[in-house]
């Protein structure tokens, strides 16, 4: 039994990691008061950016950062439209998804089927020798190890730094932030850009560590799941970790199930994560009172007068 479960959980962590990055990115954006529905497009585009960078330079680390920067770039478009031009956040986000997916398909065609180096699994010294836990958590690639630290930093940033506190205040009540002498516009930009960078890292993980190979449709709906997970997580990083691995688990499980040759139609198995998304959203809607939803989420800061 254990030899069946441990590889499954190991795969769970691996497929949960890109979702975790994207969820935290979207959470940061939303904590600043901006809704970014372009996660799917950003992930897809940054996966390509990361792949191309690694493919041409041979450096996986450089590719990873390039993914983040690609996310930053697309998020900036969203930020400019919503924060500076006061555009509708939902429309801009949806347009960003279409743009990101379209650009990826257009620019990525020459690379289809090509492999790249990326990140290989490497046992973490000492910790990997812990029985079971070591096998699940510490026989992964470097990006997974990084992802263990990110939620902690995320929590620390919002709870223990003045910049995080200021960022949260513009997501809650920008007028109060302005009254306190802060710069709400600048703070919202930093939330959108920071969030975009994290989402981009999630995209980079897909092409550099998850597949090592370029194909179309790599993001495969993970961006949408991330958007839903932010709600499921009540805007708290701890719950985001749980949510991301839950979805990673379902994704890994349905892949295994398909491979084992069951007679359940594959289309039903493929739909499993999305069915879970709906269940998760219903669940969080029922317990909405406990959520930390930013009060000013989705509303733009209208200039005075």
């Amino acid at each position: 039994m254990l030899e069946l479960i441990v590889p499954l959980l190991n795969a769970t962590v691996q497929s949960g990691t890109p979702i975790l990055y994207a969820t935290l990115g979207e959470m940061m954006t939303e904590k600043g008061g901006v809704l970014n529905l372009g996660v799917e497009g950003i992930m897809s585009f940054s996966a390509l950016a990361a792949f191309v960078t690694t493919f041409t330079t041979g450096s996986a680390t450089l590719g990873f950062l390039a993914g983040g920067c690609a996310g930053l770039f697309l998020a900036f478009i969203h930020g400019f439209v919503c924060i500076s031009c006061l555009g509708n956040q939902v429309v801009s986000g949806l347009a960003l998804t279409i743009l990101g997916l379209g650009l990826t398909r257009f620019l990525g065609t020459p690379y289809i089927g090509l492999p790249c180096e990326g990140f290989e699994k490497a046992a973490f010294p000492i910790l990997s020798s812990i029985p079971v836990m070591g096998d699940i958590l510490f026989k992964q690639d470097a990006l997974v190890y990084v992802s263990y630290v990110v939620p902690v930093l995320f929590w620390f940033f919002f709870k223990r730094t003045s910049l995080g506190m200021a960022m949260e205040s513009v997501g809650e009540y920008p007028a109060a932030a302005a009254a306190a002498g802060l710069k709400p516009i600048l703070l919202r930009y930093s939330a959108v850009l920071g969030g975009g960078f994290l989402i981009g890292l999630g995209g980079a993980y897909l092409s550099l560590a998850y597949t090592h190979l370029w194909t179309n449709g790599l993001s495969g709906g993970r961006g949408w799941i991330a958007v839903a997970l932010v709600i499921f997580a009540f805007w708290r990083p701890g719950r985001a970790v749980v949510g991301a691995y839950l979805f990673g688990g379902v994704m890994a499980f349905q892949l295994r199930l398909q491979a084992s040759g069951t007679n359940i139609p594959s289309s039903i198995l493929l739909a499993l994560p999305y069915a879970l998304t709906i269940i998760a959203l219903v669940f969080s809607a029922c317990r909405r009172k406990h959520s930390d939803m930013p009060a000013a989420l989705g509303t733009n800061i209208e200039p005075e007068g």
């Binding site: 003045s162 506190m165 949260e168 007028a175 109060a176 932030a177 009254a179 306190a180 002498g181 009060a295």
Partner: protein, 514 residues
């Protein structure tokens, strides 16, 4: 809020050699043609509480917004410590030590008290919640502002939220604290605690401005009182030298006649509104009637129960059973069988909100309450509505004369005329007019008055007003409301009436009874 049963510290007399920390010198502010503040001179001293007393729309908020850096004065200037200041933003005013507690709190609900106080003031990059809460707790203790620094703001009462706002100002070392109607949101106990905190702040050298229209609060709290009326400082009084609350009330509301109109007497007919022993919702045994052909004015200082009374008559709130009878029908039956014509017309104070839709044109706004008159089955006869609107625009001289004009494009006077045109088109039997001429210029006021007097032929009118002159000019009888209770029903034909109103508005029954 009728009693203030607490001990206030002894008033300090103002000595000759004290230097004002803030001086407003000849400050004038205009909004278009309206002069909101006219040649205001005001001195604020450290360690003293200055009350700014005035009716709604007297210009109190405009004046303080200039001090807080939100508006620039058109004429005159503001001095702080003898230096002429020219604020171009509220931030500059804050840096100069001026802090304002607004009626709407500027607080992040999901954050703790300490986080709110220190927002933007933390200094370093890393923050330590424990340390923040300790600092805020110390500050709160020093000024007697009891609030748990670790509590989330959304869990606090209004009074506690206000204390957080005050703490924000104190943390920024504000020397001049302005409170805009701070007691409006507070319970009586919380009000007393606020006053105690204010005295403590004054003791420590803060200069405090207390804006209010509640007489007894001002008398109980302030070291100096400045009365503001129609944008002018009417006078500065020492609370110890105030002869009576009535005197203060009269000076606040004013008695001089600005506009006169001939009121032909009219036979009064059947009662169209009977209010019987209505209590609850802040009202106390309200009992009166309005007959067809007469105007009954309801006067009083704002916030003494006018709002719940009007709202329950007009169907916005449900009064207890058998307390209100409109046009001979009990309230419930009247609103169940309500027709668009020969019914109740409400002319609300909030013209561009409750009375009209700002983004809709004249025709749609006219249709708001007359819709049933233009209905053909489920359809609306918009063509006929347009022609009728054209007729009304002409008849009431509403400018600009285009029926395509949107509500927000009309001036206050024309918008009010449009509302009046619509409501009179319904040929009502009862009209409830709430501050119908507030903010209007003289000619528009006269026009509105004329219409109201004309319409007595078919309706009874309940006129809710804060303008005594308006009440005396239009009404047959004046009901004075104080603290939810109608203290007197005075006929305007009686020569003594104008002098009786002041004391009643201040809640002094004995004097009036003599």
């Amino acid at each position: 809020m009728s009693t203030c049963d607490f001990i206030r510290p002894a008033r300090k007399p103002l000595t000759e050699n004290e230097v004002p920390v803030v001086r407003l010198v000849g400050v004038t502010k205009r909004f278009g043609k309206v002069v909101a503040n006219n040649n205001i001179n005001l001195d604020l001293y450290p360690g003293r509480i200055k009350a700014l007393l005035g009716e709604n729309g007297a210009g109190k908020s405009t004046m303080m917004s200039m001090l807080a850096g939100r508006y620039k004065p058109d004429e005159g200037h503001i001095e702080i410590d003898g230096k002429v200041m020219d604020f171009s933003s509220s931030k500059e005013a804050i840096n100069a030590g001026i802090g304002m507690v607004y009626q709407h709190f500027m607080l992040v609900e999901s954050m703790t008290v300490a986080q709110n106080v220190l927002l933007g003031q933390t200094g370093g990059f890393f923050i330590n919640p424990k340390e923040m809460e300790k600092r805020v707790g110390e500050l709160a203790g020093r000024f007697g502002l009891d609030v748990a620094p670790g509590a989330r703001v959304c869990d606090l009462s209004m009074g506690e939220k206000q204390r957080v706002e005050i703490l924000k100002l104190l943390y920024r070392d504000s020397r001049i604290l302005i409170f805009d109607e701070p007691t409006a949101v507070l319970t009586p106990e919380e009000t007393i605690r606020l006053f105690e905190a204010l005295w403590k702040m004054a003791e420590q050298g803060k200069s405090i401005v207390f804006i209010s229209h509640k007489l007894e609060e001002v008398l109980a709290l302030a070291d100096d009182i400045a009365i503001l009326r129609r944008g002018v400082i009417e006078g500065e009084v020492d609370p110890d030298c105030v002869e009576s609350k009535a005197d203060l009330a009269c000076r606040m509301v004013g008695k001089e006649v600005i506009l006169e109109i001939d009121r032909a007497p009219m036979e009064s007919g059947k009662p169209v509104l009977e209010v019987r022993n209505l209590s609850g919702m802040g009202l106390n045994e309200v009992d009166f009637e309005v007959r067809q052909g007469e105007i009954v004015a309801l006067v009083g200082v704002a916030g003494n129960g006018q709002k719940p009374l009007v709202e329950s008559i007009c169907g916005l709130r449900k009064p207890p059973r058998d307390t209100i009878v409109i046009g001979g029908k009990p309230w419930r039956r009247f609103f169940a069988e309500s027709t668009w014509k020969r019914s109740l017309s409400y002319i609300p104070e909030d013209r561009l909100g409750l009375a009209t839709l700002r983004e809709c044109d004249m025709v749609d706004n006219i249709l708001l309450t007359t819709r049933k008159g233009f209905a053909i089955g489920p359809w609306l006869d918009k063509k006929r509505a347009s022609t009728e609107t054209v007729g009304l625009v002409e008849k009431f001289d509403i400018r600009p004369g285009r029926i395509q004009a949107l509500a927000w494009q009309l001036s206050g006077g024309n918008l009010q005329k449009a509302v009046l045109a619509r409501e009179l088109y319904r040929e009502p039997v009862l009209i409830v007019a709430e501050q119908p001429t507030q903010g209007l210029d003289i000619s528009a006021t006269e026009e509105v008055w004329k219409r109201l007097l004309e319409v007595r032929a078919m309706a009874g009118i309940l006129l809710v007003t804060g303008d005594l002159n308006e009440a005396l000019q239009l009404a047959d009888r004046i009901a004075v409301i104080y603290n939810g209770r109608i203290l007197g029903m005075l006929p305007t034909s009686d020569k003594a009436t104008p002098d009786k109103i002041g004391p009643l508005m201040a809640g002094i029954v004995e004097e009036a009874a003599v």
